[in-house]
């Protein structure tokens, strides 16, 4: 009797345990149950209707100079991290503000934002000639840092720091220029050739110098500043070009081969012409006029100006009679030049890896790079190149779809393709976003990117 009661109690307990979950019998759920479960499921929202696209900065290339702005690549801050000499693919640089303009010099970078806050310009990389201004060292308050590993604010002596906006920055070999909208141009860095626009002081020590010079005397407002290797070019609103700095290759375009320490207006073939863009990075300079003509001066050892002259230096701007259509934009590299026409065609000439395979190493007349290499096809006929940029021995082209194509010498991984080999024709760089602008340096590149969604 006792055993029977116990067994019944056990059976009852077991039945209650079985009924612990859903009291419905098991079996494949019917369509109605599935639909109800689906409708009852919670909806997740990852992005709201007014979600904005975010602006980001990506850097890649040689990092030991600090030019990439990521200190853990040079001095690892965790035990497992190893120093990274080269960043072969685009790496995100976290910045608090939206960077509107960036420039890469020879081992250093400047980032500028269009804001009205007090801090408008950040610099990182080499600072041995104070090209990033004076960065006070925390260990010794009297000395400055020679290598800046993180984007550090550059204090500009502005009269109205909360109203002036920085429009553009540009970097050369050891000097930098900052263009503001109402207070002219600020220059800092090496001035041994007068490239900062002030009088050359003999035996001046540039390291740890506080000097930031301001330039205001131009015929109208300056709208573009460009740094060559050791010279500076200024383009004003009226369409005239001023230059100062080293002139041994004629890159100042002033008719002589001497140093100029005060910005002086250029004449020659561009006198009276409305110039809408100037470009330089090495010792050769190009200017584009409103009508679409190209003018060049400076070094021509690599056939950059061989279409007009046999000499290797040209010290007066000369019109380059190319029959390639109306030119929209030009960019100068160390040995090669590139122009973009209104139709969206890209032309290269000069010496080096020009982008038409390993067989084309030098040409004096512009050669077109076929648009199919930039993503143009019958399937997407609207794809065209929107911008061209030049580093010392690399070229970069941005399409209207926001894709970045690079080619040239892959010095210390600066192309960003992920490989260390040179690239003989345009190759797409994988960037997680739409590339808005890119700045090319000697061995590193910086790009401003907007996220997709």
């Amino acid at each position: 009797q006792d055993g029977g009661a116990l067994r019944a109690a056990m059976a009852g307990l077991a039945r209650r345990l079985l009924c612990r979950g859903f009291c419905v019998s098991a079996g494949p759920p019917s369509t109605r149950q599935l639909r109800e479960a689906e409708e009852a499921a919670p909806v997740f929202q990852y992005a709201g209707k007014t979600a904005r696209r975010k602006d980001r900065v990506f850097v890649w290339g040689f990092s030991y100079s600090g030019a990439l702005g990521i200190p853990s690549f040079v001095k690892p801050d965790a035990g497992w991290k190893k120093p990274r000499r080269i960043q072969p693919t685009p790496y995100r640089l976290e910045t608090e503000d939206k960077i509107s303009s960036a420039a890469c010099g020879y081992g250093f970078t400047l980032l500028a934002s269009n804001t009205r806050d007090i801090t408008k310009v950040w610099g990182m990389g080499l600072n041995k000639d104070s090209q990033l201004g004076f960065q006070r060292s925390r260990r010794d308050q009297t000395k400055g840092y020679e290598y800046v590993l993180e984007p550090s604010p550059i204090p500009l002596p502005l009269e109205k720091p909360q109203q002036t906006r920085v429009l553009q920055v540009s970097c050369g070999r050891a000097h930098s220029l900052v263009l503001t909208d109402s207070e002219g141009v600020f220059t800092m860095g090496n001035n041994s050739y007068g490239q900062c626009g002030r009088k050359v002081v003999e035996d001046e020590i540039y390291s740890g110098s506080h000097v930031i010079h301001q330039l205001k005397e131009f015929d109208s407002k300056v709208v573009q500043v460009v740094c060559g290797q050791d010279h500076s070019l200024f383009r004003t609103k009226k369409g005239s070009v001023y230059a100062c700095g080293w002139g041994a290759d004629g890159q100042t375009g002033l008719g002589h081969y001497n140093i100029t320490s005060v910005p002086t207006k250029l004449h020659g073939d561009i006198a009276g012409v409305n110039i809408i863009q100037v470009s330089s990075y090495g010792d050769c300079c190009l200017a584009v006029s409103e009508e679409g003509d190209v003018f060049g001066w400076g070094n021509s050892e690599y056939l950059q100006l061989a279409s007009v002259t046999e000499t290797t230096q040209v010290n007066v701007p000369r019109h380059l009679p190319f029959k390639i259509g109306k030119v929209k934009e030009a960019a100068c590299g160390g040995t090669g030049n590139i122009v973009l026409t209104e139709e969206g065609n890209v032309f290269v000439w000069g010496y080096g890896i020009l982008g038409k395979g390993p067989n084309l190493t030098e040409t004096a007349e512009p050669e077109m790079i076929p648009p199919s290499l930039f993503g143009w096809s019958d399937f997407s006929p609207d794809t065209r190149v929107a911008r061209v940029r030049c580093g010392l021995s690399q070229f970069a082209a941005l399409t209207n779809r926001g894709e970045l194509f690079v080619w040239g010498k892959n010095l210390r991984g600066c192309l960003g393709t992920g490989r260390m080999e040179d690239q003989y024709f345009p190759w797409r760089v994988t960037v997680p976003g739409e590339v808005v602008d890119v700045a090319c340096g000697v061995d590193h590149m910086v790009s401003m990117v907007r996220s997709f969604t």
Partner: protein
């Protein structure tokens, strides 16, 4: 097929005895061309007892569209066509707002998300990126040394294609229709499976910060065969099949000659 008029039987020259013109029992051999008895229908039986049918590129159960079959000697052409590595075109339909485990709308629901922030512009941007990364994969898997002039020339013409095994590559993708929550894409691809295309739809949904499932996969072109050449179920009879084979023969031959040259 067996009822169709057959080939004439083979003829063979045989020396048959026939009575001599002289008369009286002498027999001489006269050459005559007679049909071979082995070809006689009553001896041989029906000409076709079995048909060897081979399939071209796979098409899974949930997908539809052009499916290439080879009959008899055509199976050899099938393997040649496979080695040509031609692109296939699919029309893929998708739906935003859901994520399922097998990426199609009949799977188990994993998550529901909002999709009102998605615009056609955002979708086209994502598609441009997909095309660009696959373009790079195309160049990388084609096993050409990037440093040669030959590589440059092929890249300009757009003829670089992986001629061996490679992971699925999308050569072109664009949006045909966009009406939230539905959208339709046209995808040109190589070496793919339909499940990979469904996965691509799912990834597009993730990239747009939402989720997407694939509702329809339809192959509209397989190499040289398009939907116009294909026979729908109502036309699965002998005459249409023979006519279709005749129409496509020329196309297949020119394509093979061009690619395998």
């Amino acid at each position: 097929l067996n009822a169709a008029p057959e080939r004439a039987p083979r003829q063979r020259v045989r020396f048959l005895p026939s009575p001599a013109p002289g008369g009286g029992g002498a027999v001489e051999l006269v050459a005559a061309s007679v049909p071979v008895l082995a070809d006689h229908p009553l001896v041989r039986g029906p000409r076709f007892r079995k048909l060897k049918i081979g399939a071209g590129h796979r098409l899974d159960v949930k997908a539809s569209g052009v499916f290439v079959l080879g009959i008899g000697h055509g199976n050899k052409l099938l393997s040649d066509l496979y080695n040509c590595h031609l692109t296939k075109v699919y029309t893929v339909g998708g739906l935003f707002g859901k994520a399922t485990d097998d990426f199609s709308d009949t799977g188990n629901l994993i998550e529901k998300t909002t999709f009102d922030h998605i615009t056609r512009e955002k979708l086209e941007r994502i598609l441009a990126v997909i095309q660009g990364t696959n373009q790079k994969a195309l160049l990388m898997y084609s096993n050409i040394d990037m440093k040669t002039q030959e590589a440059y020339e092929l890249a300009v013409k757009g003829l670089i294609r992986p001629m061996g095994k490679s992971p699925p590559i999308i050569t072109a993708i664009r949006c045909l229709q966009f009406a939230l929550p539905e959208f339709q894409l046209e995808i040109h691809c190589l070496h793919e499976t339909q499940q990979y295309l469904r996965k691509v739809v799912h990834e597009i949904g993730l990239e747009l910060k939402s989720s997407a499932v694939c509702t329809q996969v339809r192959r509209t072109r397989d190499g040289v065969f398009t939907v116009d050449d294909a026979l729908p179920r109502t036309q699965w009879n002998l005459q249409s099949i023979q006519e279709a084979m005749r129409n496509c023969q020329l196309k297949v031959e020119t394509e093979l000659a061009k690619t395998l040259a």
